[in-house]
Symmetry: C2
Subunit: 755 residues, 2 copies
């Protein structure tokens, strides 16, 4: 059989989604289903004095109203977003849920929610992270309450770094990490040029089309089954169970279609909805409104990068010092470490001193969003590299190539880079026509940037079963958000030498699935792919054993063909897969069922890097930036399905353009959200995206299935930086704050004219 | 840890069932659910001239009415009950469905079904199987249409026998099997006594409390998901899929609780309900009424045993000749072969000639019911043995012991008996006080009978997974109808040396489960138990490997304790199972998840035998028989859970008492059902059951898990024969027809007085 890997097959979930057949959580209608609506805080920081639920409870059709006093245990309020079911004593961001109304219809619930009267005692709010770090800042939560985990940190596997004792830092600083190498003072002293810059990136929302939605159904055994839109069912289950004080296995998550996640759909409402359903003994549904998504979900954190870097004229990067502040909103968990590692690890700096802080402010909690922390760091680093190149009179791409990390170079945490293709994507960029054809034209510019993602790893298992009709079914617990089930089917087909149409993939709920981690961190193909490959090899061995017996031949003399196994060179001596199934899965059958299992544990990442070239035009009168062309070059290890890989790159670049030119969540000084809707939050439209040319580089991973690396995260990483560098090329000034709006471009042009 | 096997643990499904928490198919309420009602034939044999559905279709709330012409393909009408969705051209039994009405409510459907007008052209019906075998009998279906499979035959694995060419036999004879050994004429010639008797047993209904119920939900992909009460989800799926012309994997069966099956719940309505749901594109529910259960489900077939047997005064059994006729109703599939094998294989006959026929009549199709065919055969054989013993002046138990088959003796098909405990249960009966204390008292009697079941075998697979909370989950595809999930948990607990509370068992639907056969034939513990045992051993090996690494010890120096693994003799050096789970099933985890798989294929049965002693009193004035005491002695190999084994024996004996004294479905000469309800069909009441003493004999199986054999079927086998022998002991006449009603007892007493 010719190989199926490398073919650009369509995503299997595409057709049902396009036809409207995919079933989302809000499509669930159960007999006796109740509907919940949240009551949210209008204040960013306030004591809750009193909640009057009487009018709401008296509304016909209302079944119950719960407040934080009803649902939270005694003691400090939880320091994790999903466990903090409702505010109890005080609210810490505008939009925080303070009560939940449950009614027979969603309309009654909404009407009654408006009747809940909450009396607040407003407190001073702090919105700016630098202000939040000052000793006089309002304290958002007492220091001893830090959560032990950081959700965003789960998206990349990093280690090392000096963790500073946050108890000695200001009250709102909940995490501090430092990486050092050599002596930066010496590095700056030995530099020919030293540049100091500050960069800022805002809160950016994942802006999935489908809002958070969960249906919790209480069970007679005291457990609860939750139908929900989640990227990580086991993680969702574990957090929900521990929050509710139930054994893990008393909570079952049934994963529904995910209408966009991008890191933002892990666990959010499930513990709250389950708690309410268990109290009432009836199924309860909660679907967020779009405004609530902006008010109380978990967007990407804002960040500030205060950088100082030195270089010699020969192109040596002597030192990088960084003070990085992540504005984590009301809950800890920002991706500080991963941001520092990429900031300091992408190039060979002689000396490093990287200090990162996580700071709480009176804004919504933050969470993972595609390559958490790294688009922010790359926006800063890659402009700084351009400025250094200009300052020492070198070509920016050549400076990158000279200093780009190679396999075995040490990352800031002292861990050597595994095999990486950073140089390879830069080399490819150097040869690309868009880069070679750049020229001086008024108000046009070309920019290059590169960045990467280390990749997530997590143990997992999978099965594959031969069916009576000669097909196979892969059973697993990994949710498909990017077409991974299509790719996993291809991997099984490749091993079993069967057409991919013969491979089904079945996602099982938590109560019966083999374990798999969250679909995030660019790790499903990389890790679950290995488990599926191993399971298919196990099944193949079983198949050949049975066929050898039936055909009276040695297994090594057999070959798999479409739907059958035959003696090599003797097409007449064959047995079909369906026959094997019928001889094994039948009363009195002769063979054990063909049922392969694969378990995978990967201890080393296979980071993926992406270089982008942007070509922009800037209108000096309006400040409008138009991206005319964008080339994205990514090392994917091996493109198992090039169409799906390119789709990931397209999607990542599209979101990168959102980071670059459009998106920012904004708050007033007292913490009032200013743009919590798609009317006011500027998501890029399809018409605003440039032609995106994707080039795939294949530096095979020594670990991933058939050489594959994770591909989902890298493409979003360098886009904003490449565009910023192109803008600087066009108008001669670097824009240091995202998004690069027309107003900011005009302001930069004015500043330049003044200086 | 002390062993859990052998402990009388409660069934896990008992509590939810007692509390009313178990969810049956009829408890399902889906949005948009339609309800179906059948229109059934009032004639046992008739051509369908015309069906007028107009009035039914015009009824408000009716969505559709289908007839056989709508749903059956061209060509001959199917010869299998489940595939014969509706009669099309003629009806072949009274109660056969001819149309199905689908409406928005079950009440509308029932009302509209009454409005369907069917014009019939009545044909002569044949109800008596002997009449059906005559050349002049009405032909129920053309000869070429025999089905290739026999459902009841799936419940025991038998082989051999001479299959006669049915095309040369009368039209309604659809199967004929012959087993011969030696020369029976020579055997009769060498006998001191020869006895010839005819025995009859009626149609008996499985009489499960829950009627057949199915809900079919069409899927956007063209497939269908069916929630149904079935003992065999994969078998149900395969029959449904091939009937509908769908690939197997386009049909998913979600197995619901089974409210009693006893062999009668495999596949019946699923293809019909699915066909209708697919036509309408909406979910459809069909629940049979109790009367419909009697009219159109699949009870046990009636049988006639014409036996001639010879013996010498020394106790040698010289010859057995049998002509056995199974009245299969309107569809082929009666358990002829298995009945002949037990008839001729239980004792050492020098010469054998066993001939079995399956005959069609205008009555409902028949199916499996607990030890299909064998209670019937045993009722005949065990009375004949008693009569032979009396005739040669030997004790009936001693004659049995002398001639009982031993391990290695040949069955009628020439296959040697595997290890069996037939002699062992008889020995135990001989020593039992109830047997030793028998005496002559007016109208009281004691009877012994023995019988067995070869046991089913079928390949299967199962998984076991370590959970984060330190529990385990067994995942499998075998349905629990008798507490088998409790026993499978015990097997896993035993292997893993954990308290059984740590083991969960999760039944998966067909689309994700490892394969397992139907829960029937006394085979789940015997076969799936082996797969679970192997899976648990696989998981244990993985656990010890991880613990050895973490504890820096050799795996052989470790021991499993409750929830942990520790270094033997060093209680401080241990790691909990939950810790192992958290180190493997976590982002960046160090070990593959603990996930064991077991596949099992068994090629040899481990038959189970049961001897029963009945003590009865007969009222000579009324003919009433009271069973005063009953002892059931069963070889179970090893009683993994004695409470559940005893429960099986109790249940089997209870049903055996139904066979003996109460149950018979009856029809008029033209095929009208005479007692299709629980008002008229005499199911024994709890108050009519005697004290049942259970004794377990353990002759370990060399194959089954920890020595276990299948236990569900044997206890029903000898009950009727033991009671009949006790009655003969009491009143001096053998009752040759079941059930032994007061009328029949009085008639026998009258005949005796006359003779």
């Amino acid at each position: 059989m010719t190989t199926v890997l490398g073919k650009p097959l369509k995503r299997r979930d595409a057709e049902p989604k396009l036809r409207g057949d995919a079933r989302y959580t809000d499509d669930l209608h159960l007999p006796g289903l109740l509907h919940a609506r949240l009551v949210t805080s209008p204040y960013a920081h306030a004591r809750i004095v009193r909640i009057d639920c009487d009018a709401a409870r008296r509304t016909p059709g209302v079944v119950a109203v719960f407040t934080g006093h009803d649902l939270l245990p005694e003691g400090p309020e939880p320091a994790e977003r999903a466990r903090h079911l409702l505010a109890r004593d005080k609210v810490i961001y505008a939009g925080q849920p303070v009560a939940i109304v449950v009614a027979e219809s969603p309309y009654v619930a909404a009407d009654a929610a408006a009747l809940v009267e909450v009396e607040y005692d407003e407190l001073p709010a702090v919105v700016d992270p630098l202000a939040a770090m000052t000793p006089e800042a309002p304290v958002i939560r007492p220091k001893e309450l830090e959560g032990e985990w950081a959700e965003a940190g789960m998206h990349a596997t990093v280690s090392g770094g000096e963790e500073l004792d946050v108890r000695r830092l200001p009250a709102n600083v909940t995490n501090a990490v430092r990486f050092q190498r050599g002596d930066v003072m010496q590095g700056f002293a030995s530099a020919d040029v030293v540049i100091e810059r500050t960069y800022r990136t805002p809160f950016v929302h994942q802006a999935y089309l489908e809002p958070h939605a969960s249906v919790a159904v209480p069970r007679p055994d005291g457990g609860v089954t939750i139908y929900t839109t989640t990227q990580g069912q086991f993680y969702c289950r574990n957090v929900t169970a521990t929050t509710l004080g139930l054994p893990h296995e008393m909570v079952t998550i049934v994963p529904m279609e995910v209408g966009g996640g991008f890191g933002g759909k892990t666990v959010l409402l499930e513990p709250l909805v389950a708690a309410v359903a268990l109290r009432l003994g009836r199924p309860v549904k909660l679907v967020l409104t779009r405004t609530e998504e902006f008010l109380l979900a978990t967007p990407a954190p804002a960040a500030i990068f205060e950088l100082r870097a030195g270089a010699r004229r020969d192109g040596t990067l002597t030192a990088l010092r960084a003070r990085v502040i992540f504005d984590s909103g009301a809950y800890p968990g920002a991706p500080v470490t991963i941001a520092l590692l990429l900031l300091g690890g992408t190039y060979r700096w002689e000396h490093l001193d990287l200090l990162g802080y996580e700071v709480l402010t009176n804004k919504p909690g933050t969470g993972a969003y595609r390559a958490p922390g790294v688009p922010q760091a790359t926006f800063a680093l890659e402009q700084l590299i351009d400025e250094l190149a200009r300052a020492i009179g070198q070509d920016p791409l050549e400076l990158r190539l000279r200093n780009a990390a190679r396999t075995g170079d040490l990352q800031p945490n002292g861990v050597p880079w595994p095999p990486i293709g950073l140089v390879d994507v830069l080399e490819r960029a150097r040869q690309h026509p868009l880069w070679r054809s750049r020229q001086r034209r008024p108000n046009e510019g070309w920019g290059i940037a590169v960045g990467g993602w280390p990749g997530g790893i997590e143990p997992c298992a999978a099965n594959i079963r031969l069916n009576h009709d000669g097909t196979f079914t892969v059973t697993l617990g990994a949710i498909d958000i990017t077409g991974t089930h299509t790719v996993l089917a291809m991997i099984a087909a490749e091993v079993l030498e069967q057409p991919v149409e013969r491979i089904r993939v079945k996602l099982l709920p938590t109560d019966g699935a083999p374990y798999a981690g969250m679909s995030g961190g660019s790790k499903i193909t990389y890790t679950v792919g290995l488990a599926v490959q191993a399971a298919a090899e196990d099944a193949k061995r079983q198949l050949l054993e049975i066929a050898a017996n039936e055909l009276e031949a040695a297994p090594e003399d057999l070959e798999l063909v479409d739907g059958a196994i035959r003696v090599r060179g003797m097409p007449d001596r064959q047995i079909t897969l369906s026959e094997i199934a019928h001889r094994s899965m039948v009363f009195g059958g002769k063979y054990a069922p063909v049922y392969g299992t694969g378990r995978s544990v990967v201890r080393q990442q296979s980071p993926g890097f992406n270089a982008q070239i942007a070509h922009v035009a800037v209108d000096p009168d309006t400040g409008e930036v138009e991206v005319l062309d964008l080339v994205a070059i990514q090392d994917v290890g091996r493109a198992l399905n090039p169409a799906l890989v390119e789709e990931q790159v397209h999607g990542g670049v599209g979101q990168g353009i959102g980071w670059a030119l459009h998106e920012a969540m904004r708050w007033s000084e007292n913490g009032q959200p200013l743009n919590p809707s798609f009317l006011d939050y500027d998501l890029p439209k399809a018409s605003q995206l440039p032609p995106i040319a994707v080039e795939l580089v294949e530096v095979p991973s020594p670990i991933g299935p058939f050489g594959a690396k994770g591909v989902g995260e890298p493409p979003v990483v360098p886009t904003a930086a490449a565009i910023a560098n192109a803008i600087a090329d066009a108008i001669g000034v670097h824009l240091s704050e995202l998004p690069i709006t027309p107003e900011r471009v005009l302001a930069a042009l004015r500043d330049k004219a003044v200086s």
